[in-house]
């Protein structure tokens, strides 16, 4: 059939988000953010070689309100990625494909990531 000029039916515009698809796309975005964050942390560590002052500048920045927001956000992105990756690993091993289970583990991942964020943050603050 020749249909070069036929329109494309709407897709993203109309499709209802499912918990599974929402977590899938977040997993990807968060993965990219994590890679960037790890790279920056590596540079920060390298800056140690060039003297204490470089390190202190970043530390002062991270102790500002925006810096704290950034740290907590990164705690979440890492927690979320770890938990969702466990989910993906179990899928690769052949478990958890059942729709109800997949939805349940999805919700679990989401709530778990927030819990893990809080734990990470307090661990970092030497709270325990």
């Amino acid at each position: 059939m020749q249909n070069k000029n036929n329109p494309l039916s709407p897709h993203l515009q109309i499709y209802k988000w499912q918990i599974s698809s929402l977590l899938s796309i977040s997993h990807r975005i968060v993965g990219v953010v994590n890679i960037l964050a790890i790279t920056l942390i590596c540079f920060w560590t390298i800056s140690l070689l060039f003297g204490k002052d470089n390190y202190l500048i970043v530390q002062i920045f991270l102790n500002s309100i925006f810096g704290k927001f950034l740290t907590i956000s990164l705690c979440w992105t890492f927690s979320f990625h770890i938990l969702n990756e466990i989910r993906h690993l179990s899928w690769d091993a052949g478990f958890g494909f059942d729709l109800k289970i997949a939805k349940f583990t999805g919700v679990l991942t989401l709530f778990g990531s927030f819990l893990l964020t809080i734990i990470f943050y307090f661990l970092g603050r030497n709270f325990f």
Partner: protein
Amino acid sequence: MAQFSLPKNSKIEVGKYYKDKTNSKNLRKIKVYRWDPSTGKNPRTDTFEVDMDSCGPKVLDILIKIKNEIDPSLTFRRSCAHGVCGSCAMNIDGVNTLACIKSHTDINGDLNVYPLPHLKVVKDLIGDLTTLYKQYESIQPWLKTGKTDQEKIEIKQSQKDREKLDGYYECILCACCSTACPSYWWNGDKYLGPAVLLQAYRWINDSRDNDKKERLKKVADELKLYRCHTIMNCTNSCPKGLNPAKAIGSIKKMLATS
């Protein structure tokens, strides 16, 4: 790179409004995607006010009622009306399903009906599934026994082996799952999609088939198979309650362990 927005000729405009003429008090607004190839205009969504007192329980009943009583030019595929043929697959209330088994009472508010997502529209609610059928053909969906046709008895299958096909042989190829998959939207020309991969698994898993290795080899491809990222929109939408994500996962596992 995937194109997330619709091309210029596919932007949806606001269409006609068909007011109710029956003076019914039990009205429901149905918004339907329309595109007529003869006009050369952009697609539009028409709104129909439908009298629900004299309408059957399923979305397909509404569409047939509109076609019979309001606008006979409304075009859609349908055949069995029992969820067996898979003809009336469309996007209803944001999720792909069969219009004939979807109750309109399950949906709150106005009813939105679109064709299956990311397909070339033939007319109104009919999408062009040529690519999908070609892909289906490419996995050779028939029994390959390597026998000579001279056998006098049928090829037997134990009950246990037969059970391995449960949840896979029921697929009616309505394409709800494939067109629900974002990965299939962006790579539909190369990625086989959940429907075809589920079928591929059905033949790989058949104890009577002697071509398992060759089938696996054929499907083991970066684009054909591994574009599945377990988004699970397929399983979420399957009107027959099957699990294409699990089938694809099983193929991946087979390849990883063989």
